[in-house]
């Protein structure tokens, strides 16, 4: 059976595990390097990227995560997860951990504080029905390299992108019952 790791240091990781279970896949909570053994894909959930950065270091997960991602393991980053995967982060902390170098520039909390958090219907490439997406103090993708595939936008800003083995969303597919994006990710695992 397919086993998908979900980084479980902090944030909405249980929601991702529940979505995976609803699709008949085992979700493995990742808190230590050994938890990465034998997984077919990795989800980096939403949460606070500053706290996750610190905990990745504390739990000695930074290098092992970088290695599996560089090695081609399918990865799905949502919100804070997208920040961890980006090559360039604006309004971040200087000690913020980077787990990959997806050629995008993201601005932390780029849409503003909680009052500006929102829901919107997205048109996603390859999907016929709109996807209701929840954005919470979301990162804003300000630049994308032409090699990055943009799968959905909000007011022309990319919010769902694919690059090599990485799928990344500025929003939270784990907060809605719509499992289509998890299914899209699992096709690659």
């Amino acid at each position: 059976m397919t086993r998908i790791g979900v980084l479980a240091l902090q944030g909405a990781f249980r929601r991702h595990v529940e979505a995976l279970e609803a699709l008949g896949v085992t979700g493995v909570e990742v808190r230590a390097p050994a938890d990465l053994d034998g997984i077919d894909g990795l989800i980096l959930p939403g949460g606070e990227s500053t706290a996750m950065s610190l905990l990745l270091g504390a739990n000695e997960l930074t290098e092992p995560c970088r290695d599996v991602i560089a090695g081609g393991l399918p990865v799905f980053g949502t919100c804070a997860g997208m920040i961890l995967l980006a090559e360039k982060v604006l309004d971040g902390r200087s000690d913020q951990v980077q787990l990959s170098d997806v050629p995008i520039t993201v601005r932390r909390n780029g849409y503003g504080r909680q009052l500006a958090s929102f829901e919107a219907d997205l048109e996603i490439a390859g999907e016929t029905e709109p996807f209701r997406a929840v954005f919470i103090r979301a990162p804003k993708v300000e630049q994308v390299d032409p090699a990055v595939e943009v799968l959905a936008t909000v007011d022309d800003d990319p919010v769902l992108i694919r690059y090599r083995n990485v799928l990344a969303a500025a929003f939270h597919p784990e907060l809605t019952p719509d499992l289509r994006l998890h299914r899209v990710f699992l096709l690659e695992c």
Partner: protein
Amino acid sequence: MSNEGTNERTTATVRVKRGLAEMLKGGVIMDVVNAEQAKIAEDAGAVAVMALERVPADIRTDGGVARMSDPAMVEGIQAACSIPVMAKARIGHFAEAQILQALKVDYIDESEVLTPADETHHIDKFAFDVPFVCGATNLGEALRRISEGACMIRSKGEAGTGNVVEAVRHLRSIVGDIRKLTLADEPELFQWAKELRAPLPLVQEIAETGELPVPLFCAGGLATPADASLAMQLGAQAVFVGSGIFKSADPAPRARAIVEATTNYMNPEVLVKVSRNLGTPMTGIGMDEIDVRMADRGW
């Protein structure tokens, strides 16, 4: 693909308001009284800070009326850190909450730690776009707050004591009654709703799902990494630490240790490592030594 035109954005939905609480799960929210403490909290891995004028231990010692913080202080903290900033309003004081919303705080805590402004009514939290967290000592109180629009519940504990006993009592009461509800039949649920003084549909929903419809965090008296682990093992999904950090001898390492303990709450080896040589925790006081029980505030 790029879609033409604009996407209609809907703000302040229940999902958006509860959503931020979902993102704080597994984390530590720290009380701070100035920008410098906010920086220390963020550096230590806090997922959010609670801006207030005095930590509960000082409110307890100083006496007098405890109110919403000065806006300049909240703004200073917002400027100093990049993580969510929460702030406290007095129970029932919707004008303070309106001011906090205008300040664009990320969460408002309608808090028993401040002196209540209304001894009968809580704030109508549906009337606000900023989400609210409220304290509860038992399941009925939690459900009444949710029915008024609270998007996060924290067990109250007894703030400013450095004593975890009340936090444990309240968390056990809430989680224990949720477990009982899942075993009750329909007539028993009618009775539960009456006893809890809570809306029947919410009681029925919890009997079905086995959890609150909003995140359940723990607050009030936590002072050590072990306290955080205890709260998480008892069913809290995140922890608030107030006086416990900045009333200890060496706040920064203690803050970081509590962050690591909250993530690794099931791993005693990590708890040993992070608990070692943290210096003196806040002194703490016994429940028989206090005059004011803040947890009794709230109706």
